[in-house]
Amino acid sequence: MKHLHLVPTGTKLDFISKKFIFFAFSIILIASSLGLFGVNGLNYGIDFQGGIMMEVRSKTGPADIAEYRSNLSDLGLGEVSIQEFGEPEEVLIRIQRQEGDEKAQQAAVEAVKSVLKDTVEYRRTEFVGPKVSEELFEDGLMAVTLAIGAILVYIWFRFEWQFGMGAVIALIHDVISTIGIFALLGMEFNLSTVAAVLTIAGYSINDTVVVYDRVRENLRKYKKMELPELLNMSVNETLSRTVMTSLTTLLALLALYILGGEVIRGFSFAMIWGIVIGTYSSICLAVPILTYFTLRRSDDEDENTEVEKVEGEGTV
């Protein structure tokens, strides 16, 4: 039986010689992400901004968005955004944070309910007061920063500092470009997006570690080989695994994106983007960056003997 080989055996793609193309692409990506973030900002959800979000389903057939808009704008609640949510009957109402304290938010929820009354099913009502939203924002920022820091330390500990630097540059690249795509598309950035970003961080590093592991192994095996050639070889040897894993993960995430419902869609989108960009950065950034560092090749005699022992043991 012939098995599927996504990456043909013996593939020898030259990634390292094209590193300037990748670097240029990534620099443009980062710069435009930061630019978009600066100009558009992020469409923060109520988690980080405070405010009110209600998801309602009309009991009387498809919802008339215009009617909702005119009814709710009379309440004087400031900016009210009303949009269809997945199905024609469903409407997502977002109301900006009300002036004043928590009680004012509460009053706004009641005002909306008094207008819509029983014509709708209240599927979801969320309101986040200013205090909590500030804390959630700080916590989210803290979590992402700490995650990047902790991963740097771990890689440093397991490999060497050069690898740690390479991995973290790739990681920051992934995180910034994810923020960029959210700024570009104006998709809601909320707590689950932060969860997605952190998972992307973990995943992207996962990919990078696999390639780095191979680089380290090859550094010990081929002490005379030129670094660019060695890096290319390492990427190519792990390429089929990288592609396979990205594909299976993408398959699962696509199922979630398409079938998982409206509530989870932003989250799955962020993850899908993260997998794609994470795979790219592991191969095209994390590895070529290593050419700028001097990598040690000695002090691993014990490792070699271990490998030989493994081979000796495997006979029948």
Binding site: M1, H3, L4, H5, T9, R57, E102, Q106, V109, E110, K113, Y122, R123, R124, T125, G129, V132, D139, A143, A147, A150, I151, Y154, R158, L191, S192, V194, A195, L198, T199, G202, Y203, I205, N206, D207, D213, T238, S240, R241, M244, T245, L247, T248, T249, L251, A252, L253, L254, A255, L256, L259, G260, G261, I264, M271, V307, E313, G314, T315, V316
Partner: protein
């Protein structure tokens, strides 16, 4: 022969069987599992509020109110003790948790200090020239706030229990917050209305000497305060500051009817009943104001002594208002007002839809990954798929046993795990392919593939685990659910992808002793 210790084989099989046993209750509905004998695993995954529908409320106790009240009572005590000793003073008041007063005559300062420094045991009194300041100690403030929060939790619990809400979860969060989770409540307005009132009830005598003109101009004698009428807040009523009897002495309160009007009956405990009897005996033909949260509900005339320790409150209530008031009086007053900081309510419809969508996504993702693995690795792909099924069983079992809450992002975590779980197998299989290409025999290649890949697998998974731990630490609600399933998924997938597939591969190698291998 490929070495795989007997105890390891036993362990792998045991873990898998336990997984099946603990995951099994989720196949049945709750009524069926409840009838199972006690020794069988019967715990099911508990669904988060976003999946089963319900209301999540985060409240903050305005504990500073308690401190302010305490400071005010210190101010009152300072006033009365200085007056009784005829010590003249000015500038009595409080700013920022500190009570201060200026003693006019310097020679009386020591005497004043002796009086004042024992007014409140949790305070520190300092003298600076004519000025005496009384500050609550840090510890006293912390203790007072803590006890206010603890008491609030108790009262909140009683009030929610009174409404008949099933399985409420009420817990303290941080220093001054209370998290309330109400499964199945999709319209928490009733609960929020009940929690929005402190329900402090006190009985005061009305000061009949104060005329409406005095009230309008604000000329009110000391010891008397003007309180708004609950019906019509423009209308003020002058009552004596002194609390004759207070609501914390109530033991029961019920809504009832009198002359066709909804009213609220109440019964005092022995001490309260005695006090109430005294007040009503000594003040016949005067009015007794019933004050709730700073507003006068009613001020009926005392027609004669009430000695039975019980009475009724008439106040032009609707039936619902009478029910609410009696509930609040039964449950007791909150020591401080509560503010709702955050509310997240999901209706049962959306919850059920999310579960259904999550299940379909899981299933489709699973089928796609299973098919893909078989296409890529043939027999070995089947092994990886068997491991994947066990992985899902183990996640289910772990969530059931730990009684971790499954949320919608949690389901996403499982779907993600399905995609990522096969990664370890991909790493191993790719390695085996490589070793075969390098000319190794099947058994040596398998051995070397597993041994070499494990290090990479651990390194790669630890980083994702780091992210999961931080998410759990800093995330809230549903995001924590995601972190939990992600972390569990990483651990179980490492076990199944390495141990379970290895067992299957080794068994196959032993039985067939192949000369060549197609992977």
């Amino acid at each position: 022969m490929v070495y795989f210790a007997k105890w390891k084989i036993a362990l792998v099989i045991a873990v898998c069987l336990l997984g099946v046993a603990f995951a099994a209750p989720n196949m049945f509905d709750r009524n069926t599992t409840a009838e199972l004998p006690g020794w069988l695993p019967n715990q099911q995954i508990s669904l988060g509020l976003d999946l089963q529908g319900g209301s999540h409320l985060l409240l903050e106790v305005e504990a500073q109110t308690v401190i302010n009240e305490r400071l005010e009572s210190i101010v009152d005590s300072v006033r009365s003790s200085l007056r009784s000793e005829r010590i003249r003073y000015t500038g009595l008041g409080k700013t920022d948790n500190i009570v201060h007063v200026q003693i006019k005559k310097i020679e009386q300062v020591d005497q004043a200090y002796d009086l004042l420094h024992k007014l409140d045991t949790g305070s520190e009194t300092t003298v600076n020239g004519h000025k005496i300041t009384i500050a609550l100690t840090e510890q006293a403030i912390i203790d007072a706030k803590r006890s206010a929060v603890e008491q609030s939790i108790e009262i909140v619990r009683r009030r929610i229990d009174e409404t008949g809400t099933k399985e409420p979860n009420i817990q303290r969060q941080g220093d001054e917050r209370i998290l309330i989770q109400l499964p199945g409540i999709d319209n928490p307005e009733d609960v929020k209305r009940l929690l929005g009132k402190t329900a402090k009830m006190t009985f005061h005598l009305v000061n009949h000497n104060v005329t409406p003109e005095d009230l309008a101009t604000g000329r009110i004698p000391p010891g008397t305060i003007a309180l708004p009428d609950a019906e019509n807040e423009q209308r003020l009523i002058a009552v004596r500051r002194k609390v004759e009897v207070s609501g914390d002495m109530l033991i029961d309160s019920q809504p009832t009817f009198q002359d066709g009007q909804p009213v609220v009956s109440f019964t005092f405990n022995a001490l309260g009943g005695k006090k109430f009897g005294q007040v009503t005996t000594q003040n016949v033909n005067r009015s007794l104001a019933i004050v709730l949260d700073g507003k006068v509900i009613s001020a009926p005339n005392i027609n004669g002594p009430i000695l039975g320790g019980s009475g009724i409150i008439k106040g032009r209530f609707s039936v619902a208002e009478a029910n609410d008031l009696s509930l609040l009086l039964r449950a007791g007053a909150l020591p401080a007002p509560l503010v709702i900081l955050e509310e997240r309510t999901v209706g049962p419809g959306l919850g059920a839809d999310s579960v259904a969508a999550g299940e379909i996504a899981c299933l489709v993702g699973l089928i796609a990954v299973i098919g893909f693995m078989i296409l890529s690795y043939g027999r070995f792909g089947v092994y990886a798929d068997i491991a994947l099924m066990f992985n899902i069983i183990l996640i289910t079992a772990a969530l059931s046993v730990l009684q971790a809450t499954l949320t919608l992002p949690g389901i996403a975590g499982i779907v993600l795990t399905i995609g990522m779980a096969v990664d370890a197998n991909v790493l191993i299989f790719e390695r085996i392919r490589e070793e075969l290409r390098n000319g190794m025999g099947p058994i040596a290649a398998v051995d070397s593939g597993y041994k070499r890949a494990i290090k990479t697998i651990v390194d790669a998974n630890v980083t994702t685990l780091i992210a999961a731990v931080l998410l759990f630490e800093f995330g809230s609600g549903p995001v924590r659910g995601f972190a939990v399933t992600l972390a569990i998924g990483i651990l179980t997938s490492m076990f199944t992808a390495i141990m379970v597939t290895r067992l299957l591969v080794v068994m196959w190698l032993r039985r067939n002793k192949p000369k060549t291998m197609n992977i």
